[in-house]
Amino acid sequence: MKFTASRNACKLCSPLGACIAFRGVGEATPLLHGSQGCATYIRRYLISHFKEPVDIACSSFTEASAIFGGKSNLKTGLDNVVKQYNPRLIGVATTCLSETIGDDVNLFIRQFKKEACARDLPELVAVSTPSYRGTHMDGFHQAVKGLVEYLAKPGPAAERLNIFPGFVSCADIRHLKEILEDFGFSYSLLPDYSGTLDAPVWPDSGETKEGGTAIEDIVNMGSSSASIEFGRTLEKTETAGESLRRDLKVPLYNLGLPIGINETDRFFKLLQRLGKGTLPRKYKSERGRLIDAYVDGHKYVFDKKAVVYGEEDLVIGLASFLSETGIRPVLCGSGENSGKFKDCIEAVVLPQHRRGIDVRAGADFLEIAEEAEKLSPDLIIGNSKGYFLARKLDIPLVRAGFPVHDRIGGQRILHLCYRGAQELFDRIVNALIEKDQDASQAGYSYA
């Protein structure tokens, strides 16, 4: 039965995505223009995943602001963020409330700057993220695009790569940076929350301001030699990379999230082409070991049925990876609905897996669960919000993506490239072995 209501949403609202992207800029503070609850709920949700303080300011609407507009609250909010955090950038994201009453945030910011003319203000970047439009991924991409459009400047062409990885884990970002460095690229990666949302404990002097993409690096994105953007559904859409291509003539390469051998090969080939170099030895070995692991584990996973859910581009990457190992991604679900989900899934899975995949865009968790029950799957891959289904079906849930609220280390799950696939593959095979081992009468101590 198809419901009009959403039952256990498999998506979050757009301001959340914008906050994550803004947290990926060095010395930046996000500010939500709306009710206090938006900032607090989103903080709580992010804290439970990243296990980090995630300070998000708010213009804290009152009844008066809803009637007369949120201008004065926004100004007070900006002022107080400057006083408290002295950031280099404030990322302002709107909410359903401020959008519905028609606040012109860009105008308010211009007026704020004018009134504060003598003062040294941080960069103020505003994005439109009403929660009734799109999902957290739209908010994320909007914020990345907003940052680039506001900051990136043309300049003398430089041998530098822009990389827009999308919403990946802190470990993924760190790994991408390592790869780019090993290839010898100079690069700008946006957003980089690997240091801000997975930080060491504070030193004695208190909170640090380390981590995040430097504002100068975003400025320089306008003169880079190429941009790489992950996410097959983003191809030919209005993204940060597209904006740089159109306005500043930076060539754009769209790739799928590099999960598994096939998608990672594409990424590494592109890097070789752009860098005119060869694959560093380290990655050749990683690829070799990954294939060796696929061989070692192939029988445990062959023809197993997997349910995969999460953001569309993550699911597409995971489906590609699962399919190449012999696992059938029988149900691919997402709360997003780009209109491209099904085509992209079909493009990445093997022909023998293509038929019969149940692809559900714009789905919620109970719809996914009800369909999953009919398919008697062997495992589930996705964020912790699908745990209830794993429990009901008594099958393993291999945690990936966001949020992981029921384990520590969600921010350190590695998904990307050969090394990420290696970790995912080991975890998947072992989850299946463990399930069989626990269920077996004999309780063998070998696999």
């Binding site: 300011a57 809803a66 408290q84």
Partner: protein
Amino acid sequence: MVKLLEERKQQIHQKGKEPFNLECGKDSLPGSVSQRACVFCGSRVVLYPIADALHLVHGPIGCAAYTWDIRGALSSGPQLHRLSFSTDLSEQDVIFGGEKKLDACLGELIDFYRPKAAFVYSTCIIGVIGDDVEAVCRKVSREKNIPVMPVDSEGFKGTKKDGYRAACEALFKLIGTLKRDDVGAKSVNILGDFNLAGEIWIIREYFRRMGIQVVSTITGDGRVDDIRSAHQAGLNLVQCSGSMMHLAKLLEGKYGTPYARVSYFGVEDMADALYKTADFFKDPEIMKKTQALIAEEISAVYPKIREYRQALSGKKAAIYVGGAFKALSLIKALRLLGIKTVVVGTQTANKDDYEQLEKLCDKGTVIIDDSNPLELSGFLKEKGADIFIGGVKERPIAYKSGIAFCDHNHERKVPLAGFIGMLNFAKEVYSSAASPVWRFV
């Protein structure tokens, strides 16, 4: 010195430094990064544990998504409250209005899940786009023959406290609509316990042993029909006073039911709560049972608590919680462990609450209303706190500062109420404070 925003200075007080005149009950200061949520949050947390009701959040998806399975409010039966329902309004709905969608959602969900009642939470934009939620609720209630209660919880229309109030109003409308035959005079409603980690079951068991009937639990492990007949109870016991006092007063006004403020946290307050209840019914038999119960329970946990006290004595604590009742109980409970409270703050306490807190605190203690992360981390450091007690948003502030932490909020999985809860609390505090990991920080 902790750097403070000028407008925040009157909401912070250090006992003994100047006359006590703390400002509170104000809207959160924009840009301050308040730890508070909103009106919707207040309503949602209060009504959430009613397990056989449908909870439908009317608005765009965020508010429902962030409150899915958010509290450890256990149910001994139905689990409907753990599902997250939303009308998931899209741009089209915002333009053309969400009434039709709300009507359709309510209808299909009630048909499918067969709840005993439905609560419809209005989020920020509902009033702005002009939806007549009350009319839709009335219509659906008529069609489906169950109570469908609109909850006026638009996020910006006040603070979390106004959300509590809206939840109380909805509950009040429900109460008195069903009469039971088995309610005796020596009976109570438990207001303001949310059955986190099964706490209400501990309290219910105490009352059973005392010979007191529990008519309804509002709202922990709550059931619609019990709540509907809550007007028949002889006494309302109000724990979370910030959230439930309004309902207690409404019930006193309409049904003449007296109420008593209690807390089930800490040995002292737990014993007080049971004595207060026993006193009220003026029944020597109940009093005798109560005395025996308290003696037995205390002797069961005291020796172990004493061991923890030895290990923890002399440490300093900071507290930041939602309401005042918990802060008051915590200061006393910590004292029992030999721990002095050096910072105490709440999101929503009122003037009277803060006056009580000030009286209870030691000289030098910092009292804060509606604080933020920078203030909290600043005061933790300045006052040399060894352990921080709070909720999810406070935890990383403690950890990053290299300070032990005890979760005393929605997500706790170990019961901290009752006499056994005091022992659990001591264990929780000890297991963080005594960890060897702090040497590396």
